[in-house]
Amino acid sequence: MIDTVNPIIAPENLIYAKSEVLLDNIMHYCPGCSHGVVNKLIAEVIEDMGIQQTTIGIAPVGCAVFAYNYLDIDWQEASHGRAPAVATGVKRLLPDTFVFSYQGDGDLAAIGTAETIHACNRGENIVMVFVNNGIYGMTGGQMAPTTLPGMQSSTCPFGREASRDGHPLKITELLAQLPGTSYVTRQAVHTAASVRKTKKALRLAFENQKLNKGTSVIEVVATCSSGWKMTPVQANKWMEENMFAYYPLGDMKNE
């Protein structure tokens, strides 16, 4: 096998290479987790734009808490839900840098709702990357603000019931209403085509920041096979059939 593959590894045959912004540390994400793909896409966009030296990432509390081990840029690790406020502090004091927050649904749409809405409402000139897997991955699969009706989690073992647990929060639609946001989109990373689209969306968001256009919000509807108790393949299928119906993909705002 090696004998047949090795000669093929030649510069002229390479169509894909690992981003230089991506470190060699082994990712702690579960197999099939969307976080790894989104981390990688951000690394690629940073490399493509040549902004590795001037980008500061704000990591959340959630499964992406150690994102700073994967991207070779400066990072700050925020407390749960406060990444948009931390990002505000960074961007206001270093307006010439590129600043993004990276947050899960619990972080962005439950405990940090106020920080999220107000950062967007002020039109903070930052990128918010929002990984919506409909569950609390890091703490072991509890109900999230975005958990679908009927969907099971360890804190709604018989399924989410709107009358008791409230409705899944479409926070991205809400953020698109705010004059402070300039680009609000919902994407996914489960197919090659969707990965390419998400990368394009991320690129646009960072370009917007260069142009001082206000807040860009990139939601990525994601799988959490561990939290959902599915194989990665099942999780992708379940996401397509159920999550996309409630969280339709596409741009909500592009100004």
Binding site: T54, T55, D74, E77, T88, V90, L93, E115
Partner: protein, 360 residues
């Protein structure tokens, strides 16, 4: 030429922040300290020194904006009063854990709960013992005049950056609201980004040409490494305890009785010393200027000299615990203080002293 102005304590904080080259202020209105942000907004420092001033959506947001700015090596501060500072406790423990320098001002009002907007000193435990989770310490300064409100902003930033630790100004509604003459310090230029990169190589300003990325964090899941981190923090706190104690002693040389008081209470006790001495009772006053580090050794020394110590605070008795620990049973230590926003008078203090120590 000296610049002397009559101003409120809260206004002095704002003026001093601009003058000492602060880069940013983030805050949320609350009585009795709203004048800090109001003064900053009126002075528009973004047009002169380039300082950023932003009204946040909550104290939770303010302290996290401070975290972001502090992580960039910038001189950032926030101010609030008791209920708001309760909301900042999470942020403060993260700042301490990530070893970020910043300045936080608490113009204390009476609690618990929404309490009152009148002055109090009932947040000593929260400030000095750590109101958030984990083994951490804030450097706590206690101004007793409007002049010190101004001077301690600069001092707090110096200490915060020297030790990479949040510095806290614990004051109260009396000092925040009262007007006194202040000699203002000359303007210091804000640090340039190049200066920050050079002097604070840990700051996240974008990786630039550094080989290693900078990461501001307080998480460490390996318990052995985390124990080491905690030990390092404790060593720092010990160093601060050994190096940075500040206090003022008034009429202590020949004192038979000692008052210990900080902030507004210390001002009242200065007068109480006079009243007591006019009655022939030899009373001295020890005023801690730093509450952490606490002047333990000085109190211990005086405990061997005096016949009684009275800790005077506008609280149910918080600092008195540290005074007792310092006296370590050598002499009787009592507490006196009015509660809930009532300010004690000098004669009440002397009466309490007489009741505790001079009545058979």
């Amino acid at each position: 030429m000296k610049e002397i102005k009559l101003m409120k304590g809260n206004e002095a904080i704002a003026e001093a922040a601009i003058r000492c080259g602060a880069d940013g202020y983030f805050g949320y209105p609350i009585t009795p300290q709203s004048e800090v942000m109001e003064t900053l907004m009126a002075l528009k420092p973004w047009e002169t020194t380039g300082m950023v001033v932003l009204q946040a959506e909550s104290e939770i947001a303010s302290i996290n904006m401070v975290y972001g700015g502090a992580g960039c090596g910038k001189k950032v501060l926030t101010s609030s009063s008791s209920p708001g500072v309760s909301l900042m406790q999470e942020g403060l423990t993260y700042l301490a854990g990530a070893e970020l320098p910043c300045v936080v001002v608490n113009v204390v009002r009476g609690g618990p709960g929404l309490g009152t907007i009148q002055p109090a000193q009932s947040d000593y435990f929260q400030a000095v013992k750590g109101g958030g989770h984990g083994d951490y310490k804030l450097i706590v300064l206690a101004p007793a005049s409007v002049q010190e409100m101004a001077d301690f902003v600069d001092l707090a930033f110096d200490l915060a950056f020297k030790y990479r630790n949040p510095a806290f100004i614990l004051t109260d509604g009396v000092i925040g609201q009262m007007m006194e003459k202040v000699e203002l310090a000359p303007f210091k230029p804000r640090w340039t980004n190049e200066e920050i990169e050079k002097n604070h190589p840990w700051a996240t300003m974008g990786k630039k040409q550094r080989k290693e990325r900078n990461v501001i964090t307080s998480v460490e899941l390996d318990p052995y490494k985390h124990e080491d981190l905690n030990k390092k923090l404790q060593a720092k706190y010990r160093l601060i305890q050994e190096t940075e104690v500040r206090l003022e002693m008034i009429a202590c040389e020949d004192a038979d009785y000692l008052l210990v008081a900080y902030g507004a209470s210390a001002r009242i006790c200065e007068k109480a010393v006079e009243v007591a001495r006019s009655k022939g009772i030899k009373v001295g006053l020890l005023r801690p200027i730093t509450l952490f580090p606490f002047p333990t050794l000085e109190i211990k020394r005086l405990a061997a000299q005096v016949k009684g110590i009275l800790s005077v605070e506008m609280s149910a008795g918080q600092m008195v615990e540290d005074v007792r620990l310092a006296a370590n049973g050598v002499v009787r230590v009592e507490h006196f203080g009015r509660l809930g926003g009532i300010i004690h008078s000098p004669s009440e203090v002397v009466e309490a002293l007489e009741n505790f120590f001079l009545k058979a």
